[in-house]
Amino acid sequence: MKKFVLPALLVTLLAACSSTGTFDQAGGTAVEDRSTGAPGVATVTAPSMAGSGIAALTDPNNILSKRSVFFDFDQFVIKPEARPLVEAHARFLVQNPQMKMLIQGNTDELGSREYNLALGQKRADAVRQALTLLGAKESQIESVSLGEEKPRCGESNESCFAQNRRGDMLYSGEF
């Protein structure tokens, strides 16, 4: 079983470029040099996650391999058809108290990114509340939002938007 590890926020300096000039002031005001990157902009590459799944949770014949709860437009309540899935994951969390879950709420792309981040949080919170009502512990679950940033479907039409209005459940080792 994978241990729950939060990503270390390692920063890789690819290039610390600076050729900040100090200029002779005689004869005029020195011009700030941006042409060669000074006061420069050093490029940093963010680390990417090497997530790995857990066999029991990725078996396509197991309901636990399904991770997405879908929502209607402008809605933040879990639909009846999603109940069996939520119940199965609640049971798994109860039976595996060492497991942690990250719930990522998502929205369609219409409107402000930050406002959508807040709306996605409402969806993640709805899934979290359903799981805790079914016995999972608050300390096992973190609900966060990806807003409109990680669409499953990239086209601008309603069937696509419907796939993007969802909450995804990730387990320890997958995030």
Binding site: L6, A42, E114, K122, L146, F175
Partner: protein, 426 residues
């Protein structure tokens, strides 16, 4: 070191045919509208400018033209040295109400003294002059300083050509937070990631950016020092951390956290310490923006049932509703003088940039596009940079605060979004 050398080819569709821009530009700028009356100005070649590998006055002309406030009077290959008063009547006869005379003086160390004087051809007076020292590679930075000088002398407002902009480019699975000069040139990548980056916000010092990165599979707020690449996590609480905005003092940030429930407003120090909750609402509070005088924090909220803009005293207190028309008004951004508010309004299903005069509460929609986001004022308040969509791709656009001047900035084969206009740092 220019990391992104030659990454994109320049596509210049400006009305200015005389520009000779460097080939490694990332953003191309298209002028799609100009002011009704434009001030005619002549910027002839500087004396000895031909000895530089890349020019200065072509960049000055492009800056002024792009502002939409000036028309350029062609002076051909005439040069007017800074040492003598030019034939102002002759320049006036060509139609220019002002003219810039300048000279370059090579120095023993390879640098140049650039001296210039601006003249009013109607009053036959000198409006002022400056001397700058530059290396040949600093031609653009020098030109932006000169354009700022001309702009300020002729409009009475500070220029914004020597400022920088931040924005996010998405190409395939790769996200880059880029910093460019206000004309889209000199783009450099501050952060590259395989996860989204949103909401860059310039610190008042122009040296640091706060933003939200999803590299930890959740939104976390960072403060990033551009020159060194040093990054600090300032908000990584349980739940989501987003929407950073700087207090005018540069010491504090407002952020949105979900650690206590739904998205709510908090203030903390720029090093992440001293967390304090600003407001408690039963719904969403997000997108905080400090007023320039530091007195108010504007934000969007659904506390009244629909997404509207409110404000709350920065010292604490009760919220006041600011927008009342329509059912989706978000992303409040104050003008630098604090007198007007830019925001995004949904208008018959279209998301557009609007500006409200805070004294009269009169609102004007400035754009005719339908997917506008993230308005950001130029430091002098004249232009508003925002993100929109064109041809299925994210592009940046700018509109003057009176709606007359319009520009589009795009990167080929990539989505550009989340613009933020940096401060004046002189």
């Amino acid at each position: 070191m220019n990391i992104l050398f030659s990454r994109f080819r320049l596509l210049l569709a400006a009305t200015v045919a005389t520009l000779s821009w460097a080939a490694h530009a990332q953003l191309s700028i298209e002028i799609t509208g100009a002011g009704a009356t434009r001030f005619p100005v002549a910027i002839p070649l500087f004396e000895n400018e031909g000895s530089l590998p890349r020019g200065i006055t072509d960049v000055v002309r492009a800056d002024l033209e792009r502002s939409g406030l000036f028309s350029l009077v062609d002076m051909g290959l005439v040069t007017l040295p800074a040492t003598a008063v030019p034939d102002l009547a002759g320049v006036r006869a060509r139609g220019a109400d002002a003219v810039l005379a300048g000279s370059l003086y090579p120095q023993a160390d390879g640098r140049y003294d650039v001296r210039f004087r601006l003249f009013d051809t109607q009053k036959q007076t000198e409006l002022g002059g400056l001397s700058l020292r530059m290396t040949p590679a600093q031609n653009r930075a020098t030109a932006h300083r000169i354009a700022d000088f001309v702009y300020e002398k002729l409009t009475g407002q500070p220029g914004y050509f020597a400022t920088r902009i931040a924005y996010v480019v998405k190409s395939g699975p790769r996200y880059e937070l880029q910093i460019a000069d206000a004309d889209g040139m000199n783009a450099q990548t501050a952060l590259a990631s395989r996860e989204p980056i949103i909401s860059p916000a310039w610190a008042p010092d122009g040296q640091r950016l706060a933003y939200v990165s999803f590299e930890a599979k959740k939104p976390v707020v960072y403060v990033h020092t551009l020159a060194t690449g040093q990054r600090q996590v300032v908000a990584n609480f349980k739940g989501s951390n987003s929407a950073p905005t700087w207090a005018p003092d540069g010491q504090r940030l407002a952020v949105v956290l979900t650690k206590d429930g739904q998205s709510q407003l908090y203030v903390l120090n720029a090093d992440g310490s001293g967390l304090r909750r600003m407001a408690t609402s039963p719904g969403i509070d997000t997108e905080p923006a400090w007023s320039p005088d530091g007195e108010w924090i504007y934000f969007s909220s659904d506390r009244g049932g629909s997404a509207q803009i409110y404000r709350i005293p920065a010292s604490g207190g009760s919220a006041q509703r600011v927008t009342f028309e329509g059912n989706y008004n978000v992303t409040p951004r104050l003008s630098p003088d604090g007198r007007s508010l830019a925001f995004i309004t949904r208008n018959n299903g279209r998301f557009q940039v609007a500006v409200m005069d805070l004294a009269t509460r009169q609102t004007t929609i400035l754009t005719d596009s339908s997917r506008d986001e993230s308005p950001s004022f130029a430091p002098n308040g004249r232009m508003i940079l925002y993100a929109t969509e064109s041809g299925g791709r994210g592009v940046l656009a700018a509109v003057s605060s009176d709606g007359r001047v319009k520009q589009r900035l795009s990167v080929q084969a990539a989505d550009v979004r989340e613009p933020s206009w940096g401060p004046l740092t002189r």
